[in-house]
């Protein structure tokens, strides 16, 4: 709870700082503030062996906010990601210095939305979180008003996103109609005593569709490639890491919170969505020349992988968190390199990466590591994430799904390695340019965290 208030407060401080002409202090203060909030947040973790999601939790404001390990850990991940994104901002927006405080504060509000999405105890809070997150993203997507594709991306995302929000709202209304409650615990009570009426299940389906849209899972993914490509690269980084994982975490929390007694067909449908996401994402990514588009499609396939946690929901919270952390840290590292190579110019074609291994070996090594992590090669945490996922799925007896996931991992090697090949075997066509320190620092720290997570998985798994 304190975390959420502190984040919102920090966002407001950012806006005020602009008025008092303290623009230079904004980024350092924000980063220090975020790190302080991270510590504040981590204090909430009561200790190891609090296994169950619903145990050992504190609630605030009539169950509006519920604080437990699940929420706290995901919030910490979001704070870390936002810190990276904020650190990347000043160099990225150096041509719009006057708007820097806006960009930073919007990112902080976005973080507030994401935190609300993993610590809600009430449907109202859940929806509030999702809307704060989405509206911030609409603004960020269209944050280059003179650029047509940024405008297009913002508009497209807004139209599709608000439609999805409408569906979510409709779903919440139906669930309210069926159970008479917005409170998650009350809904759970109603469902488990059989008091929920026939409206309940259609409500859940609508809610699911809305969330799958936010996650960009097939068949609700059509917006993602265009929006990712059109938005400024930093916004794409935000969308494909923070926003995607926040929606996934909220989805999991919601389904675990209210929906234990669903018919088997519901899980079957989710699994079909998961398999489709993997195949469509990977096969389409093979053909992309634009790196941002490629990462967008790879993100769709990773959403498919993450949906595999629904095979065995009661025990997969830790797996989901681990996968999310591994994926987002690799994603941030990759995007930091992409931004450093392409700048804020509107062109991220893969030929720009030709010869990066010679012109900037460090950044090339970071991008290689990030891609290897996403492909699931050992010692990077992406591998362990996939391993834990496969382990859970096999425990649930789903050999076929695991085989499909394995086949998809193999396909994904194809496009990840295309970029690695370009970096190391082709000759550079670009002028060598100096890379701002912030980009290098974020890329290196993110990939080091990724590797650290890979070598010591118990670091986070023990808490969930």
């Amino acid at each position: 709870m304190t975390t959420l208030i502190a984040i919102a407060g920090l966002g407001i401080i950012c806006l005020i700082a602009e008025i008092f002409n303290l623009r230079k202090a904004i980024v350092p203060v924000t980063i220090i503030g975020l790190l302080a909030i991270l510590c504040l947040n981590l204090v909430n973790i009561p200790g190891v062996h609090v296994a169950n999601l619903n145990m050992e939790q504190r609630s605030f404001y009539n169950n509006m906010i519920i604080q437990n390990n699940y929420g706290t850990l995901f919030s910490s991940l979001f704070i870390v990601l936002t810190t990276f994104l904020v650190a990347l901002s000043p160099d990225f927006h150096k041509e719009h210095k006057a708007k820097l405080s806006d960009f930073i504060s919007i990112k902080l509000f976005l973080l507030a939305g994401a935190v609300a999405m993993v610590s809600f105890g009430n449907m109202a809070m859940f929806f509030l979180g999702i809307e704060i997150l989405s509206i911030s993203l609409y603004v960020l997507a269209a944050s280059e008003p003179k650029n047509v594709s940024s405008n297009e991306a913002g508009m497209k995302y807004f139209l599709m996103g608000s439609f999805a929000s409408g569906l979510i709202l409709f779903g919440i209304a139906l669930i309210y109609g069926a159970t008479g409650a917005f409170d998650i615990a009350a809904i759970y009570e109603a469902v488990s005593t059989g008091a929920a009426k026939g409206w309940f299940f259609p409500g859940v389906v609508l809610l699911t569709i809305g969330l799958l849209f936010k996650i960009a899972a097939v068949p609700f993914h059509f917006w993602a490639p265009d929006v990712y490509e059109g938005s400024p690269a930093l916004t794409t980084a935000t969308m494909s890491t923070l926003a995607k994982v926040a929606a996934m975490a909220a989805f999991y929390k919601l389904m675990r919170g209210i929906n234990l007694e669903v018919p088997g067909t519901y899980v079957t449908v989710l699994i079909i969505v998961s398999v489709l996401s993997m195949f469509v994402g990977n096969l389409t990514a093979l053909k992309q020349n634009n790196v941002k588009r490629m990462l967008a499609f790879s993100g769709i396939s990773h959403a498919g992988f993450m949906l595999m946690v629904f095979l065995n929901p009661p025990v997969t919270a830790g797996t989901l968190f681990y996968y999310a952390a591994a994926y987002t840290l690799a994603g941030i590292a990759a995007f930091a390199v992409v931004i450093s190579v392409c700048g804020d110019k509107r062109n991220e074609d893969s030929f720009k990466f030709n010869g990066l291994g010679k012109t900037n070996p460090l950044m090339a090594a970071v991008l290689t590591s990030a891609l290897l992590s996403m492909a699931g090669i050992p010692i990077f945490s992406g591998f362990f994430a996939k391993f834990f996922l496969f382990n859970q799925a096999l425990k649930a007896g789903q050999v076929a799904i695991v085989i499909i996931a394995v086949v998809n991992s193999i396909i994904s090697v194809g496009y990840y390695f295309k970029l690695i090949l370009a970096m190391y075997t082709k000759e550079s066509t670009e002028e060598k340019q100096a890379v701002p320190f912030a980009y290098t620092a974020v890329a290196v720290v993110a990939i080091l965290l990724n590797i650290l997570l890979g070598i010591f998985p118990d670091m986070v798994l023990a808490y969930l």
Binding site: I377, N391, V399, F417, L421, D458
Partner: protein
């Protein structure tokens, strides 16, 4: 002191090499590879004195994984092969100048680290990590420092990577499946689990895919010749000398004890597949015009025979496989080194453009001759002992298969000697050929010395590996 010291030496060596800078990289790498070899020798000595050299460290609680490294005769002989060959390979590359040498040598040591880890791991998950980890360095070595046309090389290298990666992922699934049955990844627990024949079959198949691609057994061999041809010599030596032995070692260590039933039931199919590789490799080697490709196909033939021996499930077969792995490792490194010397001096890989070297360099010629003879398993070389045991074990299973397998020696003698004739003999070549330097000669003499010594006196190695192999055999026949 336990086996983990070997790993630590190599890992520190890789880091030190990278930070030593381009100028000193090769020397630092050589130093650390020799140090790793010395540490291995000490460990072997400790094991011979009956001391415990195993090392177990807790790692992940759930799922239960510990870094457990076990040194017995089988694993340590492979580690000895790895560390000694790594030192020889680094020694062999000292003459070359590489762009970005620090990365090159660091990758070689890192690869040795991963391969040693693969041989030592007794925990299936850790084993898998090392197995995959060894793929990354060789991928970059072949890609960045390889020869030939860039586009074609990229295609071949990525094909190699995807093939091996695909195969091993199914092995991972098999390991996870076994973990669900036993709650443990350790070799000791996994071999005791009771599986139905159907489960064993699928697990055997998953492992087979991983190993058949790496060895390679036909029809999974299509990546091999092109990669051998295009990788730099050091990469080819690492691949053919050590890396594919990882797969044969794994058959003996993991696949056969874990799933013995299908190994017995499909023994003939497996052996015929392997022997088919022998004949296929030999015939293709006959037709090669490219020196490195010829050696690659001859390697395919020899390795096929080794795999066939391992699948006979007899003590002779397993022992022959291990002996021949070592012998083949040294011979193939020596042959590729000789090829590399010729190629470097003549700047071509075409056999037809070579010839007439003997007149210029009798010393090099005689050393090359001994290696060629060792490769065709002439008595008194180490290879003879290995191939003899392998063929003997095949004869115990089926005499006709042994006859077919024996063609490796006949055909091998044919194409190797013909190659020798075309490359070394004949009219004096127009191009001058400098005699081998002291450094080059030293490498050859070391390799030849090892091959001849153990060819005449193999008892130390046989005594060292037999108890471990008997253990394995007991597990297979449990």
């Amino acid at each position: 002191m336990d086996v983990s010291f070997i790993l630590i030496t190599l890992l520190i060596g890789a880091a030190a090499t990278y930070f030593a800078g381009n100028k000193w990289a090769s020397k630092v790498a050589l130093l650390f590879s020799v140090a790793a070899f010395a540490v291995t020798l000490c460990t072997v000595n400790l094991l011979n004195n009956g001391e415990n050299v195993n090392s177990v460290t807790r790692w992940i609680k759930n799922p239960m994984i510990s870094i457990s490294l076990v040194g017995d005769g089988l694993s340590l002989i492979m580690v000895l092969l790895t560390t000694s060959l790594t030192a020889i390979i680094i020694l062999a590359t000292l003459k070359n100048t590489f762009k970005n040498a620090k990365s090159f040598y660091a990758l070689i040591l890192f690869m040795a680290f991963a391969m040693v880890g693969t041989f030592l791991s007794a925990d299936g998950f850790v084993y898998y990590i090392f197995w995959e980890l060894s793929l990354i360095p060789i991928y970059f070595i072949a890609l960045i420092w390889g020869g030939g046309e860039a586009e074609a090389r990229k295609k071949d290298v990525i094909k190699f990577f995807i093939y091996t990666f695909a195969g091993s992922l199914f092995m991972l699934v098999a390991f996870i499946y076994l973990y669900q049955k036993t709650g443990s990844f350790t070799n000791g627990a996994l071999v005791r689990v009771n599986l139905t024949d159907k489960e064993q079959f699928w697990i055997f198949l998953a492992f087979f895919l991983a190993y058949a691609i790496k060895i390679p057994i036909i029809p999974f061999h299509t990546w091999q010749a092109n990669v051998y041809q295009k990788a730099p010599s050091a990469g080819t030596m690492l691949l053919s000398g050590i890396m594919l032995k990882m797969a044969i070692y794994s058959i003996i260590r993991w696949q056969l004890p874990l799933a013995p039933a299908p190994a017995k039931e499909y023994m003939h199919v497996l052996i015929i597949l392997c022997v088919a590789g022998v004949i296929y490799g030999s015939i293709l080697a006959l037709k090669q015009q490219d020196l490195k490709k010829l050696l690659a196909y001859s390697s395919l033939a020899h390795v096929g025979l080794i795999a066939a021996g391992a699948y006979t499930l007899t003590l002779d077969g397993l022992r022959g496989a291990v002996l021949q792995m070592i012998a083949h490792g040294f011979v193939v490194v020596g042959l590729f080194y000789a090829a590399e010397i010729i190629i470097r001096r003549y700047n071509t890989t075409e056999i037809s453009e070579m010839g007439g070297i003997r007149i210029q360099t009798p010393r090099f010629t005689s050393m090359f001759m001994i290696l060629v003879l060792a490769s065709v398993a002439l008595p008194a070389t180490f290879n003879f002992i290995g191939e003899f045991e392998l063929l003997y074990s095949l004869a115990q299973t089926n005499i006709w298969i042994a006859v077919l397998g024996g063609t490796t020696i006949i055909l091998g003698a044919f194409y190797m000697l013909r190659m020798f004739q075309q490359v070394m003999l004949g009219e004096q070549n127009a191009k001058p050929f400098a005699d081998v330097t002291f450094g080059e000669g030293f490498v050859f003499v070391t390799i030849i010395g090892i091959l001849l010594f153990f060819g005449l006196y193999p008892k130390p190695i046989i005594d060292f590996i037999t108890p471990a192999l008997e253990n394995t055999l007991n597990l297979i026949n449990r």
